[in-house]
């Protein structure tokens, strides 16, 4: 059967026969790096056109429809435009930090891809603290935004960066607590273990109402963490022109733009892994025929299908709800999401100890 794991194994065997172990490792690292960069480029192109089409259809518009069939090559044309544009560094900016900030954003996004299981047995690094690693490294995302905002030497950028810092730091809490709910249930931080624990049903079905609440708080918190509307105060166009990336242009702006979409992909794939079973196919109880039919669908399609469904949900939020004010944003987190997810975590812990799940 053709699967990602199969291809990776074949490649590894072939390389091991050709070279000694050190060179095999180095070549494999290079291949993984190229694959990650390729995935980023693809994600950028696909998610931008997806966002533009989804937004258009939700606002009763047509969206891009001129470049390529049905406008599907529009994001390629945009990328080309951004590539040839001049990258400007303002005079009063802190040149070093200004130029480093977009790369920090990209590097953090790349590091976050490591523990994600794209298909069965297909993972870059199955480290035993997978979920903690993701929440740790994603807390570095805010650093690039703060760097960009400060070094631009522009009041809009600074205000955008401060807003985004306050927002990310506070929403990290409820995202972490809702992730903990799944960790408590499955009893492991390792991504492969968490997926394996969902072989007989996804956690959102097995965990009754508490895990559904955890799922909802997770989705809300990650929408805020990736700075997307209705929580896009960091780059609120009507108030701050473009927030922390006001002064960026050309490819450096494109890197921020790409990092935002890659982060959306990453948080959605984490959500799919924790709550919707990762690459596990959809099974219903004892319907063996149905379950076998579901098994025929490759695991990578299950993973990407779930991830893109969650991305669609987040886009759906963005194009439905108006932006929150800063006090409403902080109220939502500290007065609603945090208490709810804390109590929810207690309930989940009681359920896990008493075994009240399937």
């Amino acid at each position: 059967m053709w699967s990602f794991a199969h291809i990776a194994n074949e490649l590894h065997n072939w390389l091991s026969n050709q070279f000694n172990p050190t060179w095999t490792l180095i070549i494999e690292m290079v291949i993984a790096g190229v694959a990650v960069i390729g995935l980023f480029a693809m994600l950028g192109l696909i998610l931008v056109i997806m966002e533009r089409k989804v937004s258009a259809w939700m606002q009763i518009r047509l969206g891009p429809n001129r470049v390529g069939p049905k406008g599907m090559l529009q994001s390629l044309a945009d990328t080309l435009k951004l590539l040839v544009k001049e990258g400007l560094t303002p005079d009063g900016a802190d040149k070093l930090l200004f130029n480093v900030a977009p790369f920090i954003a990209m590097i953090v996004a790349m590091l976050l891809l490591a523990p994600i299981a794209f298909a069965s047995n297909f993972q870059l690094w199955d480290l035993n603290i997978g979920v903690l690693y993701v929440s740790a490294v994603s807390s570095l995302m805010v650093i690039s935004i703060l760097m960009a905002g400060w070094s631009s030497n522009n009041k809009y950028s600074l205000m955008g960066a401060m807003r985004s810092g306050a927002q990310i730091v506070s929403y990290e809490l409820s995202a972490g607590l809702s992730v903990l709910a799944v960790v408590v249930m499955s009893g492991s931080l390792q991504v492969s273990d968490i997926i394996e624990s969902q072989r007989n049903g996804w956690w959102i079905f097995k965990g009754h109402i508490p895990l559904i609440i955890a799922f909802i708080t997770f989705i809300i918190a990650v929408t805020a963490e990736t700075n997307r509307a209705p929580f896009d105060l960091a780059e609120a166009e009507s108030e701050l022109t473009a927030g922390f990336h006001t002064e960026y242009s050309g490819m450096k702006f494109a890197l921020f733009f790409l990092a935002e979409y890659v982060n959306v992909f990453i948080v959605c794939s984490i959500g799919a892994t924790l709550f919707l079973g990762g690459w596990m196919p959809f099974h219903i109880g004892n319907w063996t025929g149905f379950n076998h039919a579901m098994d025929y669908i490759p695991s990578s399609i299950w993973f990407f299908g779930k991830t893109f469904f969650l991305i669609f949900v987040i886009m759906w939020f963005r194009w439905t709800f108006p932006r929150l004010r800063i006090d409403q944003l902080l109220n939502l987190e500290w007065k609603y999401l945090l208490p709810i997810s804390m109590i929810n975590l207690l309930v989940v812990t009681a359920m896990a100890i008493l075994g009240w799940h399937f």
């Binding site: 259809w57 518009r61 047509l62 759906w316 439905t320 709800f321």
Partner: protein
């Protein structure tokens, strides 16, 4: 009670969010609702909304007659001096001198399509047309005379 109000708040919030999401999902799945007009392509079948305001025109009937009495109400109503009424004296049937319009000059390049002149007109002599492709190479072409040459006022309009 505090807890009761808290839970009620959350419930009301989630419900109103779901109402909004239902609406956008409806639009997302029903593409026939799309209102975008692909203008240069559908020029022949273009449908404009009824109240679309393109330029001021003066309708004439088949006898080359209009309804303008030259009362200058439109000229006074216009906020930026778009309309200029130029008079001439003409003899009516009884041989009396009567004031009538010679030219109703309309500067399209100054017009903001605010519709105030149409509302001010007591005899419904001018109205808004739906044409909107106004670009020309010479600015002078935008200064238009609304009444056709040789036209006169319709009978019975005072």
């Amino acid at each position: 009670m505090f807890i009761g109000k808290y839970i009620k708040d959350i419930w009301a919030g989630i419900r109103s969010l779901l109402v909004g999401m239902k609406r956008t999902l409806y639009y997302f799945t029903h593409h026939k609702e799309i209102i975008t007009q692909q203008y240069p392509d559908n020029r022949d079948t273009l449908e404009l909304p009824e109240r679309f305001k393109g330029e001021v025109v003066m309708p004439h009937n088949e006898n080359n007659e209009h309804r303008c009495t030259g009362c200058q109400a439109c000229e006074l109503a216009c906020p930026n001096g778009t309309i200029k009424v130029i008079f001439k004296n003409e003899l009516n049937a009884e041989g009396k001198k009567k004031k009538a319009i010679d030219k109703l000059v309309y500067h399209l390049e100054l017009c903001t399509m605010c519709n105030l002149c149409i509302e001010a007109c007591p005899s419904d002599a001018i109205k808004m047309a739906q044409t909107f492709e106004h670009s020309v190479f010479d600015r002078n072409q935008l200064t238009k005379v609304l009444n056709k040459p040789g036209s006169k006022i319709m009978d019975g309009v005072e």
